[in-house]
């Protein structure tokens, strides 16, 4: 600031300030991403490298962790393995190098598919129901609307796990125990309140005139909703979907309690990967890396909307 009478426009900070701000952001990003890098690196380490102290930054990458993740193996004597025919595949070779024999595939693919089906299923359902409910609350005179909105919010006030036992008994009785549909319904029920509240805020911000214009332009209420409201609510819907997915994707306690073999998702499964002796960190890291991927892809795919969604209202004129 050399000239007091001609200050820089607010939108243009000085180059130094810019560089400092950028450095701070980069530093924070590095700190934030470090655990993820650590997990990613561990997934490609051998068991010995994974627990080496001091930690190894440079190491020979191996797929041992992934092979352990996707297969069930038994330990055999060196002599027994020597008598076997030579390994037919690269993963068999990796196992045998450590005196292990592959007995069959593990259930990780099943668990991963369960996570995808339950996570995305409940997200789609919660967002769909939330959008319709939010639109109704936003646009129509609903009797006791404020009380109903509070009731919907109140379902979030109690930690869900507090009702775990009644839900367990109910699910047993209803035949929903250890079913994907049961988990989808449960996560939807938890998420829908968040979805209604978030989306009502977004839809409230969309001026009614747009729909009214569509109504006088010859469209029905439903057409106006689809052609005018939805395209403008897309940002809010995307942001809501991300929040819903993050919850149901990461949920651990209910899944542990309400599933056994059929509908188990990744979070309760990952701890079991560690294996006998609790040493197989590369396999855990491999499972975690795999578990992280969909949410990373989903968030990156919707990141434009997410950013706009979070700052919604602030940037509108």
């Amino acid at each position: 600031m050399s000239d007091v009478h001609a200050p820089r426009p607010f939108s243009e900070p000085s180059p130094l300030a810019r560089r400092l701000a950028a450095a701070a952001v980069v530093l924070y990003a590095v700190i934030a991403i470090l655990p993820l890098l650590w997990i990613g690196a561990t997934a490609f380490k051998s068991q010995a490298d994974a627990i080496a102290y001091p930690p190894k930054i440079l190491f020979t990458p191996t797929l041992e962790g992934f092979v352990d993740l996707f297969t069930v193996q038994t330990h055999q004597s060196h002599d027994f393995i020597a008598k076997l025919p030579p390994p037919a595949t690269w993963w068999e070779k990796i196992a045998r190098d450590r005196d292990m024999v592959i007995a069959g595939p593990s259930r990780v693919v099943e668990r991963f598919l369960n996570s995808l089906i339950i996570g995305f299923g409940s997200t789609i359902l919660a967002t769909f129901l939330g959008t319709l409910a939010a639109y109704g609350f936003s646009r129509f005179r609903v009797p006791l609307a404020d009380d109903l909105m509070f009731f919907i919010l109140s379902t979030r006030m109690m930690p869900p796990i507090a009702v775990a036992v009644p839900i367990y008994m109910m699910y047993r009785w209803l035949g929903l125990y250890d079913t994907r549909i049961g988990m989808i319904l449960l996560y939807t029920a938890v998420n829908v309140s968040l979805a209604v509240w978030l989306l009502k805020g977004f839809i409230d911000e969309i001026p009614r005139e747009y729909e009214e214009a569509a109504l006088v332009d010859g469209y029905t209420r439903l057409q106006a909703f689809r052609k005018v409201v939805l395209p403008q609510a897309v940002t809010g819907i995307a942001a809501t979907a991300i929040f819903c997915l993050i919850f149901s994707w990461n949920e651990y306690a209910f899944n542990l309690l309400l599933t056994s073999s059929e509908a188990q998702t990744m979070p309760p499964f990952i701890p079991f990967i560690i294996g006998e002796g609790g040493q197989n960190w590369p396999a855990v890291a491999a499972g975690t890396t795999l578990f992280l991927l969909p949410i990373v892809v989903f968030t990156i795919a919707l990141r434009k909307h997410l950013l706009r969604g979070i700052t919604f209202g602030a940037v509108r004129k």
Partner: protein, 370 residues
């Protein structure tokens, strides 16, 4: 094109009466302006005609057909919103074509109609632009384009110039009137701006508290206000209102305001002695030393060709529109003279105008003195 008939229209929200028993007819091809302060029910009336709001009771007839409870989409009425309501996720072309798409019209015809509308509004070069980058005047033109493109029976406009700056408003005001003269479409236009109402409207309805106070040509409304509210709302500065106590007899063309006898158009009804209000437009006030109605100059406002001189009298403040070269000084004692044939008299209690010779002819200006 259509005639719009509104019968006993009534609208209440939670006990608040927005529109009270409105009755009026908008003739085919008329530019009809509903004028009034905010909250007077003009927008609610407009929205009921368009079908965006349902009346509590009453009927709305569009070319003789009862549309009172029909959906907005079934009424063939176009609506122009104050904040344009252009769909932000569509470009100009798709915005204008949107009403046609709902009718299932062929794409080639939609294209032709959109381009025709754009040509009329001179926005052809904007057709492929997103609406977000447009100036407010252009947005308004696009909104008008969306309204005219399907050639509806009538246009509803809710303060369409309210969001424009004053310069743009003058331009668009001229364009709107020009558009109406070309399309000859029945138009209902809502505004709180009397200048807009006067310059645009063939007919004006002045509303207050859900009631239509008066309904007529701009000239009728200006020259023969039906109530104190209209007299005070229309005109800048508004009509001077002087309170006095007297009675009226048919044929006796004068009243006593304090010490002064003031000539008025001959009353057509007898009124017993009571509180009355004399209404006179500033341009019908002159300063005259001989006049018995006296006052003191409070201030002057120079407007170029004219000046507004404010005079305090025992009966109320009076403003006179005088030639700019008349010399008056503040504090000076002056006499006031009114042009007798243009005076309105109101009953102070009801606020309604009392029938006088002023109301004899349908168009007073055509019979006006030179």
């Amino acid at each position: 094109m259509a005639e719009i008939r509104v019968e006993h229209l009534h609208k209440a929200f939670h006990g608040f009466v927005a529109v009270q028993n409105s009755n009026f007819v908008i003739e085919d091809r008329t530019f009809f302006v509903m004028l009034g302060p905010s909250g007077c029910g003009k927008t609610t009336t407009l929205r009921m005609i368009a079908g965006l709001e349902l009346p509590t009771s009453g009927r709305i007839l569009l070319d003789g057909a009862d549309v009172t409870f029909k959906r907005a989409s079934e009424r063939d009425i176009a609506f122009v919103f104050q904040l344009f309501a252009l769909y932000p996720h569509m470009n100009v072309r798709r915005n204008i074509g949107f009403p046609l798409v709902s009718t299932g019209m062929k794409r080639a015809e939609v294209k032709a109609r959109v381009e025709e509308a754009a040509r009329i509004l001179r926005i052809t070069d904007l057709l492929d632009r997103p609406v977000s980058g447009l100036s407010s005047g252009d947005r308004q033109r696009v909104a008008l384009g969306r309204a005219i493109v399907r050639r509806p029976m009538a246009f509803m406009m809710d303060e369409p110039l309210g969001a424009l700056d004053s310069e743009m408003r003058d331009v668009m005001c001229g364009e709107l009137r020009g558009l109406h003269d070309r399309l000859k479409a029945t138009t209902v236009y809502v505004t709180h701006d009397q200048t807009e109402a006067m310059s645009l409207g063939d007919k004006i309805a002045v509303m207050s508290h859900g009631v239509i106070e008066q309904w007529g040509t701009p000239r009728e409304v200006y020259d023969r206000p039906a109530s104190v509210f209209v007299a005070d709302f229309i005109g800048s500065p508004p009509m001077n209102l002087l309170t006095f106590h007297d009675g009226l007899q048919p044929g006796r063309g004068s009243v006593r305001v304090g010490e002064a006898d003031i000539g008025i158009p001959a009353p057509r009804e007898a009124v017993t002695k009571r509180d009355l209000i004399l209404g006179v437009r500033p341009e019908h006030v002159r300063l005259s030393d001989a006049a018995r109605l006296r006052g003191e100059v409070f201030g002057t406002e120079y407007l170029g060709t004219t000046q507004i001189v404010t005079v305090t009298t025992p009966h109320g403040v009076t403003r006179a529109r005088l030639a700019a070269n008349v010399k008056v000084s503040i504090g000076e004692a002056v006499g006031l003279e009114f042009r007798p044939d243009r005076i309105s008299v109101f009953d102070a209690a009801s606020g309604q105008a009392i029938r006088t010779a002023l109301h004899d002819h349908p168009h007073p200006m055509e019979h006006a003195h030179v």
